[in-house]
Amino acid sequence: MNITVTVNGAEHTADVEPRRLLVDFIRSTLKLTGTHIGCDTTSCGVCTVLLDGTPVKSCTMFAVQANGRSITTVEGLKQNGALSPIQEAFKEHHGLQCGFCTPAMMLVGSALIEENPDPSEDEVRWAISGNLCRCTGYVNIVKSIRAAAAATKEGAPT
């Protein structure tokens, strides 16, 4: 069936099989490979994207369910050609190693900051508890998200 989805600000219309998962639509049809696949059970979270600003696991939605909605993937994080505070913070604070969970972690982090500009360590840990990481022990991911929150606050217009 035909769907129209806005992804990173650009509108895409495509004919998709009703059973096609959103993650496969994003990766295979739109060729946006920054969104990854890590499990079959909605457990690992590496496929997380923002659906109208809210983190969702794109392996647990059909593409057709995104019809008429707006999606942000990691490729949409840069603003006006510059890295966003969350991207800068992950680089500065060594928030990634193999990079496989990173796009999802950054998207969840940015959605959290949008909602809660000054999250505590526990609030960050709870927010990312649907996303697994095997490399970092989460230490520097938490640090990166909190640093991004501080930088966002600092940079926000008063």
């Binding site: 990691v74 990481c133 095997r134 970092t136 520097n140 938490v142």
Partner: protein, 788 residues
């Protein structure tokens, strides 16, 4: 005690000791990484595998007609078809054989039976489900004790000489000396414990895009490979393809932890299919396929005994164990060592006698035995000795820290020869332990423990003072399938002074592109940002054995330092020519040569590089490049002490880590930020193994732990907070004194977590709880102890 020294280079040069930000991050934070599943080639087909639902059964028939009838299916591959190309079986890294696609029997649940090649992954998966296999049930053998009984059915009846399920027996150390030590002992302390099956479970599963050109025979294989060169050779041997026509490209890897060391049947089938069909074929595992069929780890049943004198000195160690190997013996480890480097089990302690015996058994479980974030069974060894030492201290009424201090190998005893044949290069165990004790406030916690019990609370403090062995070889003793365990670095300095470094190893997140450039920066004074690091392409890098067993820094890092120094020697000749001075009169200071006593007369490494191509000295070969194959004189022995404090709920058995202090000594640290990141990750995986990660099987051989809802990985919410400390005892034989750190925390920490939980309840008489130490097991152990 020493800590990381001030860097000798400026931040602009970025040599050793700088927490240089990572080069590889730029692509990952923009979603521009390039993992195997991101690769898409023109005309690419997709493969899905039909797997056995049974653990042990004879195959009576395979009907592929239903799958073949599906629109979009190009081929269905069976073992019978592969047999025509002599590909139905393949060698394992341990010299055993493994079925690529089953022809006679299935030997574990999830074993590969047939593969569907189709135009789309969805179609391939649909069709794979339509394959019908008729089985005759056989007794599934799910534990090695049963496997070794006389009347157990022989799992590997495909092997002519195999009349039992015994894979090997292996021993290390001196039995007579150990028996004598036990005869003299005032006390013998024993512990039987099971290190359960675990799985590395990197978030990216294993996969391949096989692209074989039917006209030229050129095979480009994009693979999740931690060891691309070794895999190229294995492919040449398995498939009979000429090795020059095989190019293994290992692109970005989403974590490995040992899981991406073996060659898996899916790789072979996809390559064969591409060869026959003449189009690229992609195969990427689902998570369930990853957990049920690829390289598991551990699965060791261990019994250890310590002989102890009246004074509390350890006199000897005796270990007997059984290793559950699964259906095919495919440990990825040095040929001569059937139980890997488990004989490091003597640990950080000084005693004259040890004897280790092992039996390996075939069972109806997935093969693997990979070194999951450890250097070939070192995790199991470290766990056993650190659990034993803690229990011994309780039994003789000594404080566990003081018992360790009394028995530690002392700094002046290095190099230290162990009773099982290792020669530890350097160490200062007590300093690391005392630092960890100071950081955690050891004495105060011990006091609090007493008081807590009076208040009805349970507090435990546990430690592990581990010694690891990493960085295999040397090649004389260590090889994989005959390939000596050296590694390599090729350095080319271009005319403009920029350089490219090519390595035989392959990062899976460790940050080689950042840290190896720092070694070149230190040795040649070329800014690290001017050094590009290339790995994971066998056509464009020198041969190496790959990245696992913490061997990249000890072996390829040494190769990098040596080739950098070789080029510096050549640079001296060129500098002498440019400065019209004698080589002997030149002084080297980060990035330039100057004439002694005349610092104004100097020439930079960049000017020297230009001259190497434009104005080489007469009689000196042009260019500034070279390659070095480094065969280490010994392995390196990182160590440290980890201390965990837990609060245990006496009613439910739930436990929570209150403090986790980790003091690591990995010798000289190339990039402290990256080192700490490695330790964080290892401590989290140690926690995972001790508390929840667990693969087990029911009596029928069904894998329990076949997805992330059953095989539990800690989230940020459960994972403890970590406090890190360091001491620095350089390796005396490594060119830059580094020892490797990627696995220390996984090796050392499980015993610390488990010792902490047991410390909280040992006064009740609980001596052991097997991992994972889940709250229900703690509760049951307390109940049982209290009711007797």
């Amino acid at each position: 005690m020493t800590t990381t020294a001030e860097p000798r280079t400026t931040p602009e040069i970025g040599g050793l000791g700088h927490s240089r930000r990572r080069v590889e991050d730029a692509r990952f934070i923009e979603g521009q990484g390039n993992y195997v599943d991101d690769i898409e080639l023109a005309g690419m087909l997709h493969m899905a595998i039909h797997r056995s639902p049974l653990a042990h059964a004879r195959i009576l028939s395979i009907d592929t007609s239903g799958a073949e009838a599906v629109e979009g299916v190009l081929a269905v591959v069976t073992g019978e078809l592969l047999a025509q190309y002599n590909l139905a079986w393949m060698p394992t890294l341990s010299g055993d054989t493994q079925a690529v696609l089953a022809t006679d029997k299935v030997r574990f649940q999830g074993q590969e039976i047939a593969a569907v090649i189709a135009t789309d992954r969805y179609i391939a998966e649909d069709a794979a489900e339509l394959i019908q296999v008729e089985y005759e049930d056989l007794e599934p053998i799910v534990n090695p004790q049963r496997a070794l009984e006389d009347d157990a059915p022989v799992i590997r009846d495909d092997k002519e000489a195999q009349d039992s399920n015994l894979v090997y027996t292996w021993e290390s150390g001196d039995k007579a000396a150990t028996d004598a030590a036990f005869d003299q002992a005032a006390k013998v302390v024993s512990l039987e414990t099971f290190y359960p099956r675990s799985h590395p479970a990197p978030l990216e599963t294993c996969g391949i895009v096989a692209d074989v050109n039917s006209a030229t025979g050129q095979a480009n294989l994009y693979m999740t490979s931690q060891a691309p060169h070794a895999h190229r050779t294995v492919f040449a041997l398995v498939a009979g393809l000429p090795e020059q026509n095989i190019r293994i490209i290992s692109p970005d890897i989403g974590g490995g932890f040992g899981n991406k060391v073996p060659v898996y049947p899916g790789y072979v089938v996809a390559t064969a299919a591409s060869l026959v069909i003449g189009k690229p074929v992609k195969w990427v595992e689902t998570r369930t396929e990853n957990l049920i069929s690829t390289g598991f780890a551990r699965d060791y049943y261990m019994k250890g005994e310590l002989a102890i004198s009246n004074e509390g000195r350890i006199l000897g160690l005796r270990v007997d164990m059984i290793s559950d190997q699964g259906a095919f013996y495919s440990d990825a480890q040095p040929t001569a060592f059937k139980a890997g480097l488990f004989h490091i089990v003597t640990g950080s302690y000084d005693y004259p006698a040890a004897h280790v015996t092992t039996k390996g058994a075939y069972t109806n479980k997935a093969p693997g035995g990979v070194a999951y974030r450890c250097s070939f069974r070192v995790t199991e060894a470290s766990y056993l000795i650190e659990r034993l030492v803690q229990n011994a201290a309780y039994e003789i009424g000594m404080d566990p820290a003081e018992f360790r201090a009394l028995n530690f190998i002392k700094p002046e005893q290095f190099p230290y020869s162990t009773p099982t044949g290792f020669v530890y290069d350097s160490g200062d165990y007590e300093t690391a332990m005392r630092l960890a004790m100071d950081m955690v406030g050891y004495d105060e916690i011990q006091k609090e423990k007493e008081q807590a019990r009076e208040e009805g609370r349970l507090v435990g403090i546990g430690m592990a003072s581990f010694t690891e062995v990493v960085g295999a070889g040397h090649g004389e003793d260590y090889d994989i399938l005959g390939l000596k365990m050296f590694d390599s670095a090729e350095l080319r300095v271009h005319p403009t002074g920029k350089a490219i470094l090519k390595l035989g190893v392959k990062s899976q997140g460790q940050g080689h592109e950042t840290t190896f450039a720092q070694i070149v920066a230190e040795e040649l004074g070329i800014p690290a940002s001017d050094v590009k690091v290339v790995e994971g392409d066998t056509d464009n890098t020198p041969y190496g054995l790959g990245t696992y067993a913490s061997r990249s820094t000890p072996v390829a890092g040494a190769a990098t330092a040596v080739i950098s120094r070789t080029l510096r020697d050549k640079a001296r000749k060129i500098a002498a020519h440019l400065l019209e001075a004698s080589e002997d009169d030149l002084e080297w200071e980060s990035g330039k040569f100057s004439v002694a006593g005349d610092p104004e007369s100097s020439v930079s490494i960049q000017d020297i590089a230009f001259a190497a191509y434009t104005n080489p000295p007469p009689g000196v070969e042009a260019g500034l490049e070279g390659v070095h194959y480094y065969d280490p004189p010994n392995m390196t022995y990182p160590f440290g002490t980890y201390i965990v404090v837990v609060d245990v709920d006496p009613d439910s058995g739930q436990w929570k880590v209150r403090r986790m202090v980790a003091v690591d000594d990995c010798g000289v640290r190339i990039n402290p930020m990256v080192v700490e990141g490695q330790i964080h990750g290892g401590l989290a995986e140690g926690y995972a193994m001790s508390s929840m990660q667990y693969i087990t099987f029911d009596d029928a051989g069904n894998c329990i732990g076949s997805n992330f809802m059953d095989y539990l990985i800690p989230t940020a919410w459960e994972t403890p907070r970590f406090e890190l400390g360091e001491t620095v005892t350089p390796s005396p034989h490594h060119p830059i004194g580094a020892k490797g750190v990627g696995e220390s925390a996984t090796v050392g920490s499980p015993a610390a977590y488990v010792n902490a939980v047991l410390d909280a309840i040992q006064h009740l008489g609980v001596k052991n709880i097997d991992m994972p130490v889940s709250s229900d097991r703690v509760w049951a152990a307390m109940e049982q102890a209290e009711t007797g």
